[in-house]
Subunit: 703 residues, 2 copies
């Protein structure tokens, strides 16, 4: 039996303790403290900086224990995770000390009784003493580093009882653990399933098929022709369910039968140029149930600065939006750490594959005994939490660790340790040391590179990667949301300071990103002299930019096997940024553009660049992209629209295009007329659906 508790918290500040204030669990104590202090909405203006003074506070949660123990029961305080270093005290005596936010903890309450006081004392955030302010401060800890500040995340050091916490009374029938393991035969027509249980009583397990029909009872099952778990777009994410019962306790869970490997990308074994010869690329092609699947999706970051406050509804809305956008993967970026288990359950249920990174990002995590010990403990907990989830298709050491802003290497003991832990606990799930590894690419993150005068159309058509696992194009947030974060007197004209800067419009990435006013103006015929014009321009570019990259990555299949943009959601309302969704769950126009580009069967145009001049020959290669599991066969009509007129260019009969295959068609070549317009639209009609690309047009030489 579980008993939720009523919690209070207080800050132990240099000048003494605050009063006790009401605290939500799960949650973050910093949020509760902000409410207590009346600091207002964190999104608005520079409110977020108010929390800076709390960084080195010690915090205490307390509850007067509320539970009832029957004869033969014992009581345990349980949490799925407490952030980050803490003691648990019962009646003033420390009964447990722990470092690490991802490992579950249990405190025996033998010495307590209902009415006893339980305190969780949380120590200040880890900060390496000689580190500059930023994520480097967390480079000796296994804390998710994002809250130390990122180019799209305010500095806001959170901690607390971020996962559920309760008192549980347990009798002899308590099931401490019940975990399914299965093997599939070579052609996946037979599954051997067994359960490992830990309990002092007999556990009865009942297995149900995905329709809820009982399959049988026992601790081992042989299942002929198991219904397989597939990711979105490749089949149904079939889940078997089970209940494990004793006289007094029941636990439930689900199983998705599937195999997953990372196999060499098609063409990845092509001969290397002459001697001295290096190595071939690293494999990053996902093979799900024996089938190579093109991974299309987005980088998942913590959807709230207060990670403890994210609830099921938020996760469900966000994951459902990904499914609706034809995505099949989230790369769960290491900087944000691992998430609440319900997120992975949702991904199981909705068919979104998960690339699960350990909580390392952009730092050089050291070969330090204490760090390695905490990391091992945390990795153990993370792997045990993730491994029952069919959606989790790979582990990864963390983000961009083999790049010169991190300076970790293949020899780093943390990454060798993570390999070892994954091998020991879950060796059939792939493990990648970091992203990117050889062959893969991260970036770029803006629409246009002013140094080379290349836009993302050109840049990605000249790239040749096995996987694009980060790329981004920023937009500017809509006016309604901007008004929630920028004081009215700062709203326009926009200046590179104050709220705009704090909300990442400037100096987040170089001088001018994420707003990138130079790029916006470069592709605008008229002066962007109102905020509405700027917003519209930024959305145009974000939509066309994202379409160009996602579709180019798909066209580069099968050598390319992944298109995963940076990023999906955002943890607070940014003024400008690369996400597809505005905080908390509002799709941007680019979300719908990407949704269109990720349709399983897509008529797609490879357009060499975004901007065109009058009189030039416009050219574009036609493709039919098919990552559905059906054969496609379409008539594609190509036209160009500008200035209210429509010009029909050609019709392409694609013929049959097999499942998970692309086909190249003709190239259209068409001399652009002398429109008085700043844009034109290429339209590929394909049955009821169409793909539209609205491109920049320069009718005169000034522009």
């Amino acid at each position: 039996m579980k008993y939720n508790q009523v919690w209070q918290a207080r800050a132990i500040r240099p000048d003494g303790c605050s009063e006790w204030f009401s605290a939500q669990v799960p949650g973050n104590v910093q949020y509760d403290y902000g409410v207590y202090m009346g600091w207002g909405n964190i999104h608005y203006n520079d409110n977020s900086t108010l929390w800076r003074e709390t960084e080195d506070y010690t915090w205490e949660y307390r509850t007067v224990l509320n539970y009832a123990c029957k004869e033969g029961e014992k009581a345990v305080f349980v949490s799925k995770g407490i952030d980050y270093r803490f003691d648990i005290l019962v009646n003033g005596k420390v009964c447990l000390s722990h470092e690490g936010m991802f490992s579950p903890v249990e405190a025996d309450l033998s010495d307590a009784q209902p009415g006893s006081e339980l305190v969780v004392r949380i120590y200040p955030h880890p900060k390496r003493e000689d580190a500059d302010e930023g994520c480097n401060q967390a480079d000796h800890s296994a804390k998710a580093p994002v809250c130390y500040g990122w180019d799209w995340h305010p500095r806001l050091l959170v901690s607390g009882l971020w996962q559920e916490a309760y008192v549980e009374t347990r009798d002899a029938g308590f099931i401490r653990r019940c975990e399914p393991f299965y093997t599939l035969n070579a052609d996946r027509t037979h599954a051997s399933l067994r359960f490992e249980t830990e309990a002092d009583a007999e556990v009865e397990i009942t297995l149900f098929d995905p329709d809820g029909k009982e399959v049988g009872k026992g601790h081992a099952f042989e299942i002929d022709h198991p219904r397989l778990w597939w990711c979105n777009g490749q089949g149904k994410p079939e889940l078997y369910t089970y209940t494990a019962r004793t006289a007094s306790h029941e636990v439930k869970g689900h199983i998705g039968f599937r195999t997953v490997k990372l196999v060499m990308n098609k063409g990845g074994w092509d001969p290397l140029p002459g001697f001295p010869m290096g190595r071939n690329v690293a494999p990053i092609q996902i093979e799900l149930n024996g089938r190579n699947v093109f991974a299309k999706g987005s980088n998942w970051v913590n959807p709230d600065v207060f990670n403890g406050r994210i609830d099921y509804e938020r996760y469900e809305t966000l994951v459902t939006l990904a499914k609706d956008a034809h995505m099949n993967i989230f790369r769960c970026w290491g900087g944000s750490g691992t998430h609440k288990e319900m997120f992975y359950e949702l991904c199981d249920r909705l068919g979104i594959m998960v690339w699960a990174e350990f909580p390392l990002a952009c730092n050089c995590y050291p070969d330090d005994p204490h760090y390695l010990e905490v990391l091992e403990q945390e990795a153990d907990a993370i792997i045990r939490m993730l491994r029952p989830h069919p959606a989790v298709v790979m582990y990864c050491g963390g983000n961009e660790l083999f790049n010169n802003w991190s300076m970790m290497t293949d020899q780093s003991q943390a990454l060798r340790l993570l390999n070892k832990k994954c091998y020991d606990l879950d060796k059939d799930r792939p493990y990648l040391m970091t992203s990117p590894v050889l062959g893969m690419g991260h970036g770029g993150y803006t629409f246009w590179n002013p140094n080379t005068n290349q836009d993302v159309f050109t840049i990605f058509q000249n790239a040749h990667c096995t996987a694009y696992t980060e790329f981004g194009v920023p937009n500017m947030t809509d006016l309604e949301n901007l008004k929630k974060i920028i004081p009215e007197d700062e709203l326009f004209p926009i200046e590179a300071k104050g709220s705009w800067k704090l909300h990442h419009a400037f100096e987040a990435w170089g001088e001018l990103a994420w707003l990138c006013p130079d790029g916006m103006q470069h592709f605008s015929r008229g002066k962007l002299d109102t905020i509405e014009k700027m917003i519209a321009q930024s959305n145009w570019m974000q939509c066309e930019g994202y379409k160009a990259i996602f579709e180019e990555a798909r066209r580069q299949a099968p050598y390319c096997s992944m298109a995963i943009n940076w990023c999906y959601c955002e943890p607070w309302i940014t003024a400008s940024g690369n996400s597809l969704i505005t905080y908390p769950v509002q799709p941007k126009p680019a979300y719908y553009a990407v949704q269109n580009s990720l349709r399983p069967v897509l008529a797609s145009a490879r357009i060499p660049r975004f901007d065109w001049k009058k009189g030039e020959v416009f050219h574009a290669e036609l493709w039919l992209l098919n990552d559905s599991v059906e054969c496609a066969n379409h008539t594609i009509k190509v036209s160009i629209r500008a200035n209210g007129e429509e010009y029909e260019l050609l019709t392409w009969e694609t013929g049959e295009v097999a499942m998970n295959t692309n086909k190249i068609g003709p190239t259209i070549n068409w001399k652009l007329p002398e429109w008085d317009a700043d844009r034109f639209t290429l339209v590929l009609s394909c049955g009821d659906a169409s793909s539209e690309y609205t491109l920049c047009f320069r009718p005169d030489n000034e522009w």
Copy 2:
């Protein structure tokens, strides 16, 4: 007490058993059988093919046990390794079954007595059924694959009691294990040493310093200012020794205090070109005792086709030759597996670092449960044997596994397992998945590429690798040795068949390698119409080629950190090949050329190509290479010799060149006269020493 045994062996052939014949232990039963059958010298003509019929034989060794057990002793049969799958039978009863040649085995002789018969029954060589003949047949086994045939190794499947084997009587004082472990503080001024022992009696350990002076007794020692183990050229390979004693047993060993890491090569963190961005190179710079060391050495392969017959004297001669050639590293190539422990002891003593590969090479070793189980057992044994040796500076999964002739990847479970085992048992020693990894280069293996008309001078000056860990230039074996392998009537003119082909002169590597008559003739003014002329030409090219590559690799330091040629020794007399030493221990002319190029302080010329025409401006960049631990400061006189005349070109005062540093000097430019010669020599005199480069000269246009 150890009792050597007298052994006999027999072949269990399809047509029945052979007689018992005398067998040497350690050794290979195939050698003994050859003697018994009167097959003669394996090197001569096609004698080696006689062994083909034995490939699928089962073999039995037998001995009538000879030992004496005192009261309280028990007897154990011990071997350090038996190749490959075998049973041990005592009085006809199987008492042990085992797969794997690298793990030591012990068979309890409780049921035996002196005079009992002990049989080792060895099963046929592992051969994957559907594999073509060659090393692929061994791709599901942990057997060293080289004996299945390589481009420089005859197919000769050996097995047997290749390591020492004896009966040992043990009483309660027997020391089952005594192993030292130490840590050094950050600046290596203090060592904490502890011993792990396994024995039923009290073990007394006495430690001695490198001069043999007793340091103390105990199981743990704190040593201030320990004398460090250094590789050849960087300091002394200081070894502490210890004895561990009980009343009845004594074991001895040594300890070399040192730290070793693979750190990023200088320049390896330089920014990568634009987005999408991959990863930086993998580190391969050896940091020994905090000092970056340029690794110069050679690839060690099994020095005998009959690997069991190699004895201490052979190892000592070969390792001493490497030391004398200023080498400091052997890459122990995975195809030849791990060697007898005395080899590593010699490397400890002589200061030759060892890059130790697991027995995987050029195959795709599968994610197969049985294979992984055997590999884990073998890796465990190999790591435990190697880890006390200071010379061993790194483990490596095996040879060229990430290339398309192997097709293993970062995801291969065998390599993930090896990484895990190394981490578990010896985590402070680097582990490399394979060679090459990103940044490194293997090859080329011939002097001249006829397709590009580039020689190794040009090829390596245009390469930019972190490490050159395989490269080769072939020569032709001297006449005396050729006569040992080629029947007189085949000797000349040379034809691409028979003995020449069997001894790797043709079709070993493409059509014409390793003899490469096309390349030899290309750089010869006159027709190579005698075998003496051919031998001389091949030695000229091998010497100049090896000098060019070794010196270029040194000049590319510190980005480049290794020059390790293919290969050092050879397992039998080849007709042509890349080794520096002719079987068994005879240095080739190229050995001396390499010895000169590896002198710690070397005046070196970067000459853009091997062949020059009359009237051209010859140019060469001057360098002083210093990988000694002293500051160098020299006067270098540059001259050219041809047709008996000497032309003085310039004198370069190098000024001070710090230890382990190179310095570039002036470039000489000099118009070549109209000599009637086919070669000229550039001479850099530097005190008593000189560096000489004899280059090809074309006095007319026909040639």
